[in-house]
């Protein structure tokens, strides 16, 4: 089986599992919904204010919700020693990693697609800048969260109290990406600044950490 074939097979398996159980997506959706409602209560912003803070709220909500899905990525493979089976199999580790990262990317994108209308309704949002750029920011930002999240989930699954460990590892490293997503979104919503620098920064972040993850994933998978 070619390495892209392994990627596709693993991805299809994960998608099918998720489609049948809907564990991750339900938990994420409800969690994100709670965050939206609680933020909306506690700030009660006007349209002008919410345009300025929405970037932060949206991405913090997605970040927290994404952790739910990311935690399940590898924990699912611990049952019946599937992860050990992966380790002894001749399949290249990177195709496994890519399958998991793309799977998480799809889950988080679905979450974003479902939650964004709610944000628009609750916060009365309308972009004053070029709105099409929001899609670019969303795609790049989601990949930034997911590629590091999948990698660190593989690390945290090897530790005690792994569900707490993932955000502790992920959040510090994600700070520049989160800042870029938040600032890009706010710039586009308010239309005051150009978001170009932040988009370039996100591209740089994605490239650097995708390369690093692919380069180092085998070490993490085989760590004994």
């Amino acid at each position: 089986m070619s390495s892209s074939g392994i990627t596709r097979a693993t991805l299809a398996k994960d998608l099918r599992l998720e489609w049948r159980s809907k564990d991750a997506i339900n938990a994420m959706l409800f969690f994100a919904l709670l965050v939206v409602v609680i933020f909306s209560f506690s700030f009660d912003p006007t349209a002008e204010e919410s345009r300025r803070i929405a970037g932060g709220l949206v991405w913090v909500a997605f970040l927290f919700a994404a952790v739910v899905a990311l935690n399940q990525t590898w924990a699912r493979e611990l049952r019946n020693q599937v992860l050990d089976a992966y380790r002894v199999s001749p399949a290249p580790p990177n195709s496994l990693f890519l399958a998991k990262a793309v799977g998480n990317f799809i889950f988080v994108t679905v979450l974003e697609a479902l939650m964004t209308p709610l944000f628009i309704v609750f916060y009365n949002l309308r972009a004053l800048g070029p709105a099409y750029q929001l899609f670019v920011v969303a795609a790049l930002g989601t990949w930034a969260l997911v590629v590091n999240g999948t990698f660190f989930a593989a690390m945290s699954v090897r530790t005690r109290s792994r569900e707490i460990m993932l955000p502790l590892l992920l959040f510090p490293i994600t700070i520049p990406a989160l800042l870029a997503m938040v600032e890009a979104t706010s710039s586009i919503l308010t239309g005051e600044f150009s978001a170009r620098f932040w988009i370039v920064l996100l591209v740089a972040y994605d490239v650097v950490f995708t390369m690093a993850s692919l380069f180092l994933f085998e070490l993490v998978l085989q760590a004994e």
Binding site: M155, M165, L168, F171, I175, P176, A180, F209, V220
Partner: protein, 228 residues
């Protein structure tokens, strides 16, 4: 090597006391900030020491991944722990200095934020080491150290741009530094570096010893149980 340790300890004690005398008594009082500026002689050398230790941690981590030498891992652990301590000193003395001078405890300035993010990354590094089972800790920690290092330039550029968009806080004027002040700063820097080396060395030695004890205990339990 064993003989070098007490020599280094004495040197550290001499330099630290001379540095303390210099910082509190012989250094001239700064014109606008007054005596509060004297914290500078501890703040800046701590920062330099912390960054040096984090760099040492990165080098040791890469060496560990390449050679799988447990000594490199012990050095990585020691430098990260001591580095976090010095970084904490920086983050505590910074606001104490900033409050009377800038009128605020904290600002999202480039260097402040970078130091804070580095501190967060290395605290998460230590948490990871504490929570993972002993066999895989070195590899996972070394990988995290590399990720942290890759993150630093990205943090730098993001904060740099973030700040250029937003109003700058009032920062005590640049200007040139009095040569007497510079002299004391360098003495303190040397003192802190010696002190950090000393602590790091002890911590490294302790780590090696505790690993030897662990191995001996594991071996002993095997020996005791086998005749039964």
């Amino acid at each position: 090597m064993k003989r070098a340790f007490p020599i280094l300890a004495i040197l550290t004690a001499v330099l630290l006391s001379y540095g303390l005398y210099g910082a509190l008594i012989s250094a001239p009082t700064e014109q606008t900030m007054g005596d509060v500026q004297r914290i500078f002689y501890y703040h800046v050398p701590s920062a330099w020491t912390a960054f040096t230790l984090f760099f040492l941690n990165l080098v040791a981590s890469i060496v560990y991944l390449g050679r799988r030498n447990p000594k490199a891992d012990a050095l990585a652990l020691a430098s990260a722990e001591v580095g976090v301590v010095f970084c904490t000193v920086v983050l505590v003395t910074g606001p104490i200095w900033a409050r009377p001078v800038w009128g605020i405890w904290w600002t999202w300035d480039l260097r402040l934020t970078l130091t804070l993010v580095l501190w967060l990354i290395y605290v998460s590094y230590l948490v990871l080491r504490r929570f993972s089972s002993s066999g895989q800790t070195p590899v996972l920690a070394a990988v995290l150290a590399i990720f942290g290092a890759l993150d630093v330039p990205l943090v730098y550029f993001s904060i740099w741009f973030f700040r250029t968009q937003h109003p700058q806080p009032v920062i005590g004027g640049g200007g040139s530094i009095d040569p007497r002040m510079l002299h004391i700063l360098l003495i303190n820097w040397a003192a802190f570096s010696c002190f950090a080396t000393l602590v790091c060395w002890s911590r490294y030695h302790l780590e090696i010893l505790s690993r030897e004890v662990e191995e001996a205990q594991a071996l002993e339990s095997l020996v005791v149980e086998s005749p039964r």
